[in-house]
Symmetry: C2
Subunit: 95 residues, 2 copies
DNA sequence: TTTACTCATTGAAATATTTGAATCTTTTCC
DNA sequence: GGAAAAGATTCAAATATTTCAATGAGTAAA
C-alpha cells in the first residue's frame, strides 16, 4: 500500500468535509457494483448543475472517485485504493 | 465499534483538512505514550498563540484529541477511538 | 495580593469555499 | 449541417475559515 503524504491527506480530508460531497459518495455506494451517472445526482441533490459539477471535481481531483466518459455522459465509481491509502494515513496517526 | 454518522464524519474531515492541525497531530504522535503540551506547539509551529488555540479547539471539539488540565497547562493525547470510528466510516464508503 | 504565566475569547481583516446564472464545449441524433 | 443534451467554465455574490492584536480568566509563585 502506498504511503500517503500529509499534503495529500489534507486534500482528501478537505474533499470529504462537505455534506454534498459525502452525499455524492453515498449515492455512488448505493450503486454497488454499478456506475453512478450525473443525472442520478441531479435527481437526488437539490443544487444547480454547476455546483454539483464543482463538487464532483473536488472528488475526482483527489481520485476518491474515478470518472469515465460514455458518449455524452460521464459515469463514476469509487476508488477503493485511495480510501485504503487514506485509512493507512489515519492508522499512522494513532499512538 | 460505534457507527459514525455522516455529520460527525464531515466534522472530523474538516478538522483534518488543515496543514496546521495535521502538524499538531504529528507532534502528538511524536510524543508516543507521553502527552503533548501547548508549549511544544508554540516551539514548533510558526503561528500566534490564538491561532494555535483555535486549531486545538477544532481538534478537541471533534474529540480527535483529548485535553487534560494540569495546573496552568493543558496537555493533550490522541483519541484512538475516534480515529478508529472514522476509519470504520471510510470502510463503509467502499464498494 | 500582586505579579507573572498559560490558555481562551473577541473582533476585524485577509483569504478560501460554496453557489448559481450565463455561457461554452463536446457529443448525439435528425 | 442544425438542434438538443450533458457537462465544464466563468464570474460574482454569499458564506465560512484562518489569522492575529488586544484583552480576559484562571492558576501559581513570590
Amino acid at each position: 500500500m502506498a504511503q500517503m503524504d500529509t499534503k495529500t491527506a489534507e486534500k482528501i480530508s478537505k474533499a470529504l468535509s462537505d455534506p454534498t460531497r459525502l452525499k455524492i459518495l453515498s449515492e455512488i455506494k448505493k450503486k454497488k457494483n454499478d456506475w453512478l451517472y450525473c443525472v442520478d445526482l441531479y435527481d437526488n441533490i437539490n443544487l444547480a448543475q454547476p455546483s454539483i459539477c464543482h463538487h464532483l471535481k473536488q472528488l475526482t481531483e483527489t481520485a476518491i472517485i474515478l470518472p469515465e466518459k460514455e458518449g455524452r455522459n460521464i459515469k463514476y465509481t469509487m476508488n477503493n485504493e485511495v480510501i485504503d491509502d487514506f485509512i493507512g494515513f489515519l492508522q499512522g496517526l494513532k499512538k
